[in-house]
Each structure stands twice: as C-alpha cells, then as structure tokens.
C-alpha cells in the first residue's frame, strides 16, 4: 500500500457544522476534472477483501492514481482555467489573488484600480455596429468561404473577369447573407432576453433603505434584499435571512448566513466589514472567502460555498434574505459557466472533407486540361489570330496598331485560362452545401425536439439539441458508455433493508405498510413499508441490548447527515408534513426511513437538531461535523445527547468503515454484517455501514481543540480538518448496515436489449461496487445468464497483468471455438476501478482494449469520473467506432466531453452534465428512438444530401467543361452567368434541403421493430468512397448526355448560344431534380412541391433572364421553346441521362437488396395489408 503522497486539497470547509456533504463533494469532482494536471493522486488501495458500497451518488470520484501521469485525454478537455482560478480553489487566498468587497460600500469597493463590472449581462455576440464585420469575420473561418472569396476577388481582375462583378459575388453573398440573417435572428433573441434580464428589478440598499433598482445597476459591494420565490440577481454572500438561524434555501441547496452578520442590522455593516474573496471563477460548487469584521476586535470569519447564493437561483421557503454582492454581471458563476455548446465536428463532415479534396483534384485537373489545350490552340493559331475576326489580337486604336489587345503571350494566356477555369468551374466545390447542411441540421433538430417520443412527461423535459453539428453522428454509434446512477436508475433512493447488530431485517414477509396512525410528523417521501420486527423492537425492546442498538442505529441515521427538514403545512392541521431537503438522495432516503421508524428529524439549526424520538422531542447538540470526502469515504457527526453523553456517529462505504471499526469488539456481528452487505449488494442495493463511539470527556476536549484550530486555520484548512476527522473516526463499534434501492428507470432493460440488437455495445461505468454493479447489470438485461463473465478485479499490478493475460487467452480460445461452431458465447467483462488504474499506469491499455472489444458488454465498477473519460478515450483512440456517452451528473462531464456524442440526462443531479452535453433528454430509454430512429434518419439523409450536392454541382461543371472544349478553350459559357450562379443556390438547392429534412427511408415502427437496421449507419452505408465514385460516374454520364445530345442535334445549325444555353440549363436542372426524385423514398406534398416547384422556378428564372433586352440572350427561351426539337431533345436528354441510374437502381434493389430495401418492401406490404385489414394495424400498433 502506497502512502498518500499529496492529497488534493479540498474546498476549505469553513462551515463547521452544516456543509452539505455531497455538494462540496461534487465540487471536488468537478474540480478534479478541471484541475487534473495539477493534482497528484496517490494510490492508497486498501486491499481488504470486500469493498464497501458507497454512501452517496457523488462518492464516485474515488479516483486515485500513482504518480502524476495525467489520464489520457485530459489535456483535451475543453475546460480551461486560469492559474489564478486554480489557485483560488486549491489553496487559500493570497492578497494579490483576492478581491475586497466592502459591505454596503459600493463606492469604496469599486474604487480604482478595482472597478468591478456592474450587474448588466450581455450574451449577445454582436451590436448593430459590429454585426457586419464580426459576423463576416466569423463566417470566413470556414476555409471554403475563403476559397470563394478569393475566386470572387480574382474575378474582378479585368483579364480574368469571367462573370460580371455582381454575378461573381452573388453566390457567396447569398450564402453569407442567409447565415447572417440566421445569426442576426439568434442574436436578436439573445439581445431581447438580455434586455428583459437587465431590466428586472431588485431591492438594493441605497442610503440605508432598500429601494427597487434595475438589475443592471447593481454593483459589487451593495446589499440586495430578495424575497421568497424571487430570482437572485447576482452572486451574493448571505448576510442575514428571515430565519433566525440564518438558513436560506435556493433551489434545493441550503445556504447560511454567518452568525456574526446575522445579528447586525445590514445598514450598520457599512464600513465595518470587508469580504476578501477569490477572483471570479467557474466553479459553482466552490467559494473561498473570509469575512473581516473591522469593528472593535478585528476578526476573521471563513466563508465557503454554503454562504454564497448564485445568480439565477430562486430563493425558496425563506421569507427574505439579504446578501452582499460579490460577483456581478458577467463575473457571476452562472455567466462564467454559460459557455456555449461544445463545438464538435461530425464524422460525416470529416469524411466529406476527404471527398472535397477529391473534387478539388478533379477541379484542378479540369482547369489544367483547359489551360493546356488553350496553350496548344493558341500555338497552333499563333499566326492566324492577328486577323481572325473573332480574336483581333492587335489593338489598332490605342497603340498605333502595334500593341496587342488583351494578349500577353501564350504563357500568360495559359495562366489566365487556368485561373478563369477555376472561376468558371468553382462550384465543383459546392458552396451551398455548407449552408444546406446547417439548415438541414436545424430542421432535424426541430423534429427531434418536437418528437413526442423524446418528451419526458414526468419531469416535463423536452429533448434538447445543444450542439447542432453532430446530428448525423447519432446514426453511427457503435459504443455507448453509460453512467449508472441517475442514468440507468432513477436516482430516487428508497430505504429497503437494514442489518442491525448482525441481524438481518430484509425479509419481505415481515414488511408492513407504514401506519400513519397518530403520527404528528409525516415525511413527504415516506418509505412504503417498514419491518414489523424492527418497529416492535424499537417500541418494546426497552432496555434489551438489541433494542438499544436498534435505537442507536436509527438515531445515527437521523443525526449523521446534512439534511435540513422543512415543515410544510399539510391539509390536516394536526399533522405536519416534513420535506427533507438535501443534495444527497441517499441521505434523504435514510432520514425518511429513520422518520418512518419513529426517529423524526424535525429541526436543524446551526448548533443543534431536534429529533422526535418515538413521540418525544429531544434536542441534540451538533458539536462537530466531518463532511464527506472521497478519501475517507465517510462522514461523521459528534452529537451532544440529552443525557449529556457525547457520541460520534459515522456512516460510510463498507471498505472505508471496516478499516476504522474495532473488529475485536464483536467479531460475530462484523462477520454477519459483512455477509449481509454482500447479500444486499447482490440484490443491487446501495449499502452503507454505520458505526458509532461514545467519546470520553478528555477525548472530546482534545478533539474540540484540534477541530477549532483546524477550522480557523488560514492555510491548508481542508487537510487539517481531514486529519482531525481521521483521528477521531477510529475504534468504532459497528451498529449495522443499510440497503438502499435505486430503482431502474422505465424501459431500461428493453432499451438496452434494443441497443444490443442494433449492434451497439453498451458499457456501464459505475462507482458502485462490483456485486451491486453485476446485480444491476442483470436487472437491466445488460448481463444475461448465458454470458461468460470475465472478471478483472485485482489488487496489484502483477495480478492485474496476470488476469488480463488470462482474459486474453480465454477470449482467444472462445474465438477459435466459435469459428467452427456457429453459436458464439457472449462475453461480458467486469472490471473494477483499481484494475483500471493499474492498467492505465502500466501501459496494458492495448491488452485491455483487446479484451474489451471482444466482449459484448463491459461493466466497469468503482470508477472515478476521470477514469470514465479514460475508458472512453481507450476506445476512441484505438478504433474508429463512434462513441456515445450518457450520464446525468457532474461526475459524467469528462466522459460526456470525451465521447464523440455526449448526452446529458436532465435529471436530479443538477445541470452540469446537460451543460457539457451535445444532446439532453429526460430518460435513458429515449436513447432508442434517438439513435435507432432519428440517428438513422439523420445519417441517411445527411449522407445522401452530401453525395447529391457533390453530384449535382459536378454535373453542372462537366456540362460547362464540355462546352469550353468547343470554344477555343476560352471559358465561355452558353449558360448565362446568372443561371450559373443561381444553379446551386436556387435552381437545385431547395429540394435537396427539403428531402434531407423530410425524407424517411423507413418508418419509425420498422426501425424500432428491427434494431439491426441501425447497422447501416455503423457500416457507413449511406456515405462512403464507393458511393461517391458511383455518383461521380453518374455525374459524368449525365453531363455527357446533357451536352452531347443537343450538341449533335444542333451541329451545323443556326442555333445561337443563348438558346442552346437555355436548353442545357433546363436539361441539367430537370435531370438532377429527377435524379433526386428517383431516390426520394417518401413523397409527401412538401417533397412534391419542392422538386417540381424547383423545376418550374428554374423555368421562370430562365424566362425572366431572357426577358431583359440588354442581355445578349434576350427572348431566346421563348423562341427555342417554340420548336419541337427543343422538347424532343429535352426528353431525350432526360431519358438517356437517367437510364444508367435507373438500371443500376433496379438491379441493386432487386438482385442485391440491402436490409433497408427488404425492410422497406415489408413496410410497403404491411401498409397495403393495413389498408385492407385496418383492425390488424391496431394490433400491431399496440404490440409495437
């Protein structure tokens, strides 16, 4: 066992008595994500046999590592913080890092050089003046746009002027314009909400009285008074509240005003007190400050996260609260955390860049051909051109007949030809594709958000699309990493059973419903049933040993926590309903359970708690509280009992507790309890062990001195306090253990089954102990009986390596077996956090990877948040598999950010996970419709749209290219320049966007019925190089048809270029639209309107262009449409152009059908069946 080298300094806990444990624990988990590189974890793996369960959801961050090698990928975490921030939360405050806030003296607080910002917020990106430059600047971060800008600029060079200036910038301007309008609209909405926010009023102390003032005018140092249900305007340190003990509640969190300020009328604090606090930072769970009272005796009072209330929270259950503003406006923690959604890039887009490079190569090739041939042509005609009427090389007018007009020699002409060719063929790189993709993703997001199947009625949460760049990644996921608590389970804890003094009380048969009877106090969330025997024991056990222990057990449950009871008025005046407020659902469950058994926590103030013990109110003094931390994995309280004894109650995870329990005291009980613990966790229960010790007077005094010293220390307070706690928490007597059930969310087993059928590997990463994890694994059908389990659960490096090697050989053996026999044994890997630490440390990652990918299911238990990210990274680095991480808590943030797709469950554990996620939803089971239905659609649609856009633009470019070969290689286009620029933005843009938003290759029912269809996305069937090549070949063929059929028919005729150009324009537009139409799977009226409308719109545009008398092509379309040849050619072009595509489609769909094709046919026959037998449909609906 290694000695802890350097322990992470926790958030100093200045609040001696009432720090909500899990809140600060969470802060640590958050910070350890963020500050990882600077924290050195020690490997103090206690290698005792069974490891205890954990007390709270937040105790997952039991993350230790030997050495200081950062977890792979940590450096990639986007959260960056300044050194000062880190210092602020890590160490104690130094003067130069501090900000001084003079209470009720804003002038002095803000005196130079301080000048803190006022409370106005601005989330807008732009102002009216800066909009155009800034928006353009941002848009031009896209390389493609720079390319088009350069081409537009080149076009302005007279020698290269292919298009008229207006026409040359039109496509770019259009695309920029559409994006700008979109951005402006979004920004305007932000502006509006900012304005509303800034104009809200709060009551601020001005000249000794509270007066309403707009939020934006609040300054640091001012005193603000907030009443119940009001939103807090800025981050404030509580000064006083309506509660005589100084308690205030904001959105479930309990906050306290200091006793010292509570008693002073707020206006008298002016000049008398200064708060020295850390600089603004993003850590919403951390706050370090000191309150310095300058009055008579100078005193320093430590302030911590429980003394600050944050902007955006609401004051609850408290009549009023007064606070002093410490951070305002953009420096509030809420605003600092308001960073936008993470910016990720979808895999499809990355692949698309590869094809864009191919297209660039084709473009360069075309241009080179044109440039070279133009050189050859000029050389062959060198002597002719002087007189040739169509060339007129010499300029007789301005240069006395000697100079050349616009001719600079063959070499220069070749260069010009090349550049002009790039300008003419520029849309080979589809400019409109980028904006189309953005619009399509918006549309897809709209449908995902609106989908009633992704709406969680129980929490009234809709699906959220926070990142708009990776919709299509949802269709390619191969590996899901899921958190357990709160994600697979509801995170609604319920006390199930207890083992008291070695006696197991978990027999269901003995359970009886909770009788409300003559209760005065009714907990809001009452357990459903109680154990009759325990009730009996408590009531009538009297002075028996067993009875005493049971009382102490429940007293421990009622006292050893940070729960704050809130008395609510029920409908029955005789009964009081108690709402137990606290951040740890486990503690709530325990306190509610204690209440159900007659130990009702009724009141909590800063110094004491009142417990209704079996109908008799008793007051207990809370002398000290050692809050939970992830190193000790336990918490303890020191209670002064009414009988003047001082008792220490400790509860914690089993492995931590058995280390501090005196096993010699009652070895039988210890053994029995261990057995029960094992049984509980095998049932999937979360277990906690409870111990106690009576303190002697000397012991208590010794502790008290150490405690006071530690808690007022200015340096290393956290470490000192931990030392004090470790010193007192020893030689405990085992009281018993509790089992808490965390119920599975609805539909989790079914969802996991579906995901597995879809070929998605599900990894569950949990902080629970192995038995609990395996049991939950079975109950959510992650593990099945026929699976072979590989368990890696090692205490040392060597054994870990050995079990890995064993696992590999086992995997190989099974693999070799399965080659001949068809039935493959499914494998499950169960690995625990310790082993992971060893593996990551000793570079056995490859071996782990080898085992892991061979397994169908991987269950990682006892993992720390950063390990979660490491595991995701393990897969991400070594395979091209798309990874998805789903979680609900702050401890899942690293994993969510690491995975290709991060999903947050908007649940009970706060908004951290959601803020870091790409998508957020209410339930785990929504993953199925999200991936199997929306993901499938998004991927298929986006893949097709990209290919189609490439094909569509290439076809047009090839048509231009064939013509250029017949113009002396001079980049003339018969198609009018307006049609060229409108082609990709108007003539053909709308149908592809509409189809990409609305088309469905298969219906929802089919996709859910056959999850295997999801494989199409995983195998990249909708977008790959082969398809790209097919599309390009098709594109060349169609361009040949478009060009050469009219060419051959009009050879040696009087056809003028405008008429022929119009024919080509219409032919190519109709052809590409028909191509799209042929690939559309579902025709609804919108699709019809878009496709046929586009063709009509093109015709109208061409007609309008040809109605302008000063364009050379005036009236050509009307003229040419009057000839039969025109229509005959148009028909011929379309038929000849489409035949290969049609033949290929017919062959592929009938003779080489893929799953989607078969499923589509099944769907179709199902539909026709439904029409004839509607009642059957109802049945299948019910089944589906």
């Amino acid at each position: 066992m290694d000695v802890p080298a350097k322990l992470p300094d926790p958030v100093p806990s200045p609040i001696l008595r009432h720090s909500p444990s899990s809140g600060s624990a969470m802060s640590r988990s958050l910070r350890s994500v963020v500050d990882m590189p600077s924290v050195t974890f020690a490997a103090d793996m206690r290698s005792d046999s069974t490891r205890g369960a954990e007390s709270t959801a937040s105790s997952f961050e039991s993350f230790r590592r030997a050495g200081s090698r950062p977890v792979p990928g940590v450096a990639r975490l986007p959260t960056r913080r300044s050194a000062s921030e880190r210092a602020g939360s890590q160490r104690d405050l130094r003067d130069e890092d501090a900000r001084f806030v003079y209470i009720n003296d804003a002038a002095r607080t803000n005196a130079p050089p301080a000048r803190f910002p006022d409370n106005s917020v601005r989330t807008t990106k732009y102002s009216v003046l800066t909009f155009i430059p800034r928006n353009l600047y941002e848009q031009f971060h896209r390389v493609a746009y720079v390319y088009f800008l350069i081409l537009a600029a080149l076009n302005q060079v007279p020698q290269l002027g292919v298009f008229s200036p207006v026409a040359s910038v039109l496509p770019l301007a259009f695309v920029l314009g559409v994006t700008a309008v979109k951005d402006a609209y979004e920004d305007w909405r932000r502006h509006r909400s900012d304005k509303n926010e800034n104009n809200r009023t709060a009551s601020v102390m001005v000249d000794g009285v509270f007066r309403p003032k707009p939020w934006s005018d609040i300054h640091v140092g001012e005193l603000v008074r907030v009443v119940a249900n009001e939103t807090l305007p800025c981050d404030m340190v509580l000064v006083s509240t309506s509660d005589p003990t100084g308690v205030a509640y904001s959105n479930l969190k309990t906050r306290y005003a200091k006793q010292e300020t509570l008693t002073t009328p707020p206006e008298q604090l002016a000049g008398a007190a200064v708060i020295r606090c850390e600089r603004p930072n993003r850590n919403i769970y951390g706050f370090t400050a000191n309150l310095e009272l300058e009055g008579g005796e100078s005193r320093r009072i430590p302030l911590g996260p429980s003394n600050i209330v944050l902007r955006g929270c609401e004051l609850k259950n408290t009549a009023w609260a007064v606070g002093v503003v410490v951070y305002a406006g953009r420096e509030t923690k809420a605003m600092l955390n308001n960073a936008g959604a993470p910016s990720k890039r979808s895999r499809l887009e990355t692949q698309m860049n590869r094809e864009t490079l191919f297209l660039s190569a084709i473009l360069v090739a075309l241009c080179s051909v044109v440039a070279a041939l133009s050189g050859v042509w000029l050389r062959n005609h060198e002597h002719d051109l002087e007189l040739a009427q169509f060339f007129h090389k010499k300029d007789y007018v301005s240069d006395d007949g000697n100079g050349n007009y616009n001719y600079y020699g063959i070499a220069a002409q070749i260069v010009f030809a090349f550049l002009m060719a790039v300008i003419v063929f520029q849309i080979m790189i589809p400019i409109s594709l980028y904006i189309s993709m953005e619009l399509v993703r918006l549309g897809q997001a709209y449908f995902m958000i609106r989908d009633t199947n992704l709406y969680d009625a129980s929490s009234d949460t809709r699906f959220q699309c926070r990142s708009l760049n990776i919709n299509e990644d949802l269709g390619q996921v191969r590996c899901v990493f899921s958190d357990k608590t709160g994600t697979l389970t509801q995170n609604k804890m319920e006390f199930r059973c207890a083992s008291i003094e070695g006696v197991d009380y978990s027999d269901i048969a003995r359970q009886q419903p909770v009788g409300e009877g003559d209760r005065i106090w009714v907990p809001k969330k009452m357990p459903v049933s109680v154990d009759r025997e325990i009730v009996e024991l408590l009531r009538n056990g009297g002075e028996t040993e067993q009875g005493r222990h049971a009382r102490e057990f429940f007293l421990a449950l009622a006292t050893c926590n940070t729960i704050v009871p809130l008395i609510l008025d029920g409908p029955d005046p005789k009964r009081k309903i108690i709402d137990y407020q606290g951040e740890s659902p486990d503690e709530q469950a325990l306190v509610s359970a204690a209440a159900a058994y007659g130990f009702v926590l009724v009141e909590r103030t800063s110094g004491h708690i009142v417990i209704d013990v079996l109908g008799e109110k008793q007051r207990f003094d809370v002398l000290g509280l050692h809050e939970f931390d992830s190193d000790r994995k336990r918490m303890s309280v020191i209670i002064g009992c009414p009988d003047k004894t001082v008792k220490l109650f400790v509860k914690g995870a089993d492995n931590s507790m058995f280390g501090v329990i005196d096993k010699t005291m009652n070895p039988d009980v210890v053994r029995a309890t261990e057995k029960h613990l094992h049984a509980y966790s095998s049932l999937g229960l979360r277990t906690l062990v409870i111990g106690m010790r009576e303190l002697s007077q000397e012991e208590f005094q010794e502790w008290q001195m150490a405690y006071e010293k530690a808690s007022t220390a200015l340096l290393g307070r956290g470490g000192l306090l931990r030392g004090v706690a470790a010193n007192i928490e020893r030689n405990l007597r085992l009281l018993g253990a509790s089992g808490i059930e965390d119920k599975l969310q609805d539909g989790v087993p079914e969802a996991i089954e579906k995901l597995r059928q879809a070929g998605i590997k599900v990894w569950v990463l949990t902080g629970d102990k192995q038995e609990t994890a395996i049991s939950i694994g079975f109950s959510c059908k992650l593990l099945t009986r026929e699976m072979t389990q590989i368990v890696i659960n090692s205490n040392s490096r060597d054994s870990c390596r050995k079990s890995l090697d064993d696992a590999i050989s086992m995997v190989n053996k099974l693999r070799s077996l399965s080659t001949d026999s068809q039935a493959r044994v499914p494998l499950a890997l169960v690995i625990d956090g310790n082993s992971l630490v060893y593996i990551f440390d000793t570079d056995h990652e490859d071996k782990l990877f080898e085992v892991a990918i061979a397994c169908d299911v991987v269950l990682c238990c006892r993992v720390a948040p950063l390990q979660k990210a490491g595991i995701v990274d393990l897969i991400k680095k070594r395979t091209s598999d798309m990874t998805l991480a789903i979680g609900d808590g702050a401890n899942d943030v690293s994993m969510i950010q690491m995975a290709d797709v991060g999903i947050g469950i908007s649940g009970q554990e706060g908004r951290q996970a959601v803020m870091a996620s790409d998508f957020a939803m209410g339930q785990f089971r929504f993953l199925v419709p999200l991936l199997l239905v929306h993901g499938h659609w998004n991927y298929q649609r986006m893949g097709y749209m990209i290919l189609y856009n490439f094909y569509r633009n290439a076809t047009f470019v090839f048509v231009l290219f064939w013509y250029v070969l017949h113009t002396g290689f001079t980049l003339t286009t018969a198609i009018t320049e307006w049609s060229s620029v409108l082609y990709s933005v108007i003539y053909t843009a709308v149908p592809t966007i509409v189809v990409a938003i609305l088309d469905k290759d298969l219906g929802r029912r089919t996709l859910l019925k056959y999850p295997q269809l999801y494989g199409a996305g995983q195998r990249e069937e909708s977008y790959n190089l082969r398809l790209f090549i097919f599309f390009m070949i098709d594109s060349i063929w169609q361009s040949l048809a478009v060009f050469f059929i009219p060419y051959l028919a009009y050879r040696k005729s009087t056809i003028d270029s405008a008429s022929l150009g119009d024919l080509w324009t219409l032919a190519v537009v109709i052809l590409v639209n028909i191509h799209l139409a042929m690939d559309v799977i579902r025709w609804n009226w919108i699709t019809h309107a878009a496709i046929w409308g586009s063709i009509v719109a093109t015709l109208i545009c061409v007609m309008v262009i040809d109605s302008i008398p000063i364009l050379p092509g005036f009236w050509a379309i009307y003229k040419v449409m009057g000839t039969g040849l025109f229509w005959a050619l148009l028909l011929a072009v379309i038929v000849v152009g489409m035949v290969p595509h049609f033949v290929a489609k017919a062959i592929r769909e009938h003779f080489l059908p893929n799953d989607i094709q078969i499923a589509r046919e099944m769907e179709k026959s199902q539909d026709s069946h439904d029409v004839t037998h509607p009642e059957v449909q109802m049945n299948t609906m019910a089944r589906a």
Partner: protein, 325 residues
C-alpha cells in the same frame, strides 16, 4: 409537451413507391413505345429535307492566287465576284432557306462574345456607352463606334444572288432575324456611325441611313452562334425548285476566312418541324427506344431467372447469417 401534429412527428401522409419488377419492365417498355415511333418519324422528317451545300471559299480564289489567298482577299483591287453553279438533287418546296455556313469561326470565343454593348444597340442616347466593346470601341480619334464591339465589326458580308436559267430567283431578306430583336433589342432610331472606319476592316459595312432595327443581316450576325461551325440565315427563296434544276449563284466573296483556315459554305435547304437535315435525333430516339425494349426484355428474363419475393424477411442480413450476432 410538444404539440402533436403529423408534421412534427414526421408522419405526413406519403406515397412510398418501390421499384418493383413490374414497374421496371413497364417503364422501359413505355419509353421504348414512345421513343421508337418518334425516332422513326424524325428520321422520315429529316429524310424529307433537301439540302444543298456548296463550299466556295477555295473555289472562288483565282487560280493564280491559291498560294496566297490572304493577299487575294486583302487586295481591294481584285474583284471578289464569283459564280457557282448548283444542281438541285431533289425537288425542293418553297420556302427554300438560304444559309451561309462558317466552319472554324469561333463566334463563341470569349474575347468575341463579350465584345458588344447591348445598351448602345437599343438606345440612341447611349451611343457613347461602349464599355466591353474593346478593341472596337472608338475610332482612333476617340469617337464612339455604333455598333461597337468585335461582333458587329466582324459582320459577314458575302452576298449571293440566284438565277435559274434566265429567271432571277429573288432572295427575300425580310424577317430573317428574330422579331423580338428587331423590336426590342435594336433601336429604331439608332443609326450606325463611325462603323468600319478603322485601320483593319473586320467585315461588312452598314448603311448609316438605315436604323439598326432594320439592319437584319447585322441582327442575325449578332445572335452569336453556339458552336464554331454554324449557319446563319441569309434569306428565303419563295420558289419551288425541281430536281436537276441548275442554279447559278453570283456571289461576292468578301469575307476573310483565309486568315484562320475557316470555311465558307452556301446552303440551300428546305425545313420541317424538326429544323434542318439532321437525322441524329431520329437515330438517337430509335436507338434509345430499342435499348429500352432490350432492357425491358432483359429485366423480364432476369426476374424470371432470379425471382425474389418482395419483403421476405428471410433476406434480411441477420436472418441470412443467423450466427452473425
């Protein structure tokens, strides 16, 4: 709760066509049925067209100057008159279209097509508007040329007159241009000025007394051809010609195509609804139609040889390879 609508749930009523064998075969069959007759009709129509083409640029060069055609054409003192005799191969019903055909003349060359100003052509007030007309923009002393630009400058100026025996065959040069051009594109009060006054003459001159809207040869010429080999309408002859008639063409061979190896041809042709004598379209239709018939039969055969039940779930990949997963 998001509002339920068929649209937001993506459940709009939709038609889901599937390419069943029946569809495939019928589509090919249908295309064949349409294309073959249309092709045959087009072929017959093209066959009906009588076309007489006579290349005269070489033939009209005097025998002593065939080595130096450029000197011949550039020398204003040599008469450019030339006489050609054409024999009518088939009966030709009036109207007979008289075209001139230029080969290798890049009327679609970038320098050329851009060198015009359409504003100037329609509006007398915009005579000075000569932008884009380089290098035939202004005269040496800076006066604007109307019509300016290379296209107008290179106006074709060979002329033809026809006699059959002693009978003069009048060439009607009215309405050879587009009505829309005469009425909207070329101004009724825009008169040529400073035209063809430069050092190098590109082609024909224009009568300064006649407004552009009536200069039909110019209007025809300025409808630039799409391809480097093109025909332009010269006029119409409203006389039926009989087989074996001998037509004498008196032409003045003014236009210089010798400098770039171009060819000049005189074309007499009748016309049908499909235009001139070009049987490409007919062949294309017949071939495509035939191919579609072939494909229809090929697919029928394939569907018989390798039938597949539609929507049979045994074809799903995971059912075909049950051990796959």
């Amino acid at each position: 709760m998001p509002k339920y609508s068929k649209f937001t749930q993506q459940e709009l009523p939709a038609c889901k066509p599937i390419l069943t064998p029946k569809w495939v075969v019928s589509v090919f069959f249908l295309v064949g049925i349409i294309f073959v007759p249309v092709g045959v009709v087009s072929l017959l129509a093209a066959r009906d067209v009588v076309e007489i083409v006579d290349r005269y640029d070489d033939a009209c060069v005097p025998a002593n100057m065939t080595d130096n055609k450029l000197a011949y054409i550039q020398n204003p003192n040599i008469s450019k008159d030339c006489t050609r005799t054409l024999t009518i191969t088939e009966d030709m019903k009036q109207p007979i279209f008289v075209y001139y055909q230029l080969d290798n003349f890049y009327q679609n060359h970038r320098r050329y097509v851009k060198s015009r100003n359409d504003g100037q052509l329609r509006d007398a007030a915009k005579a000075n508007q000569t932008s884009a007309c380089e290098p035939e923009k202004t005269t040496a002393d800076g006066k604007p040329i109307v019509p300016c630009g290379l296209i107008a400058w290179s106006l074709f100026n060979d002329t033809y007159s026809f006699t059959r025996g002693n009978e003069n065959l009048t060439v009607d040069k009215k309405d050879i241009s587009w009505k829309s051009d005469r009425e909207h594109k070329f101004g009724k009060n825009v008169y040529p000025s400073n035209f063809q006054n430069g050092l190098l003459k590109g082609g024909g001159t224009l009568d300064p007394a006649i407004p552009l809207s009536e200069q039909e040869d110019l209007i025809v010429w300025m409808r630039t051809a799409a391809l480097p080999t093109f025909r332009k309408l010269y006029g119409r002859i409203y006389v039926d010609l009989k087989k074996n008639d001998t037509i004498t063409v008196r032409l003045s061979n003014n236009y210089n195509t010798y400098n770039f190896g171009g060819k000049k041809k005189l074309v007499l042709s009748t016309a049908t609804w499909l235009g001139g004598k070009n049987d490409f379209l007919g062949f294309a239709y017949v071939i495509v139609g035939g191919l579609c018939f072939f494909l229809a039969f090929a697919f029928t055969l394939l569907y018989f040889i390798k039938p597949r039940k539609l929507g049979d779930h045994n074809y799903l990949s995971w059912n075909r390879h049950p051990a796959g997963r």
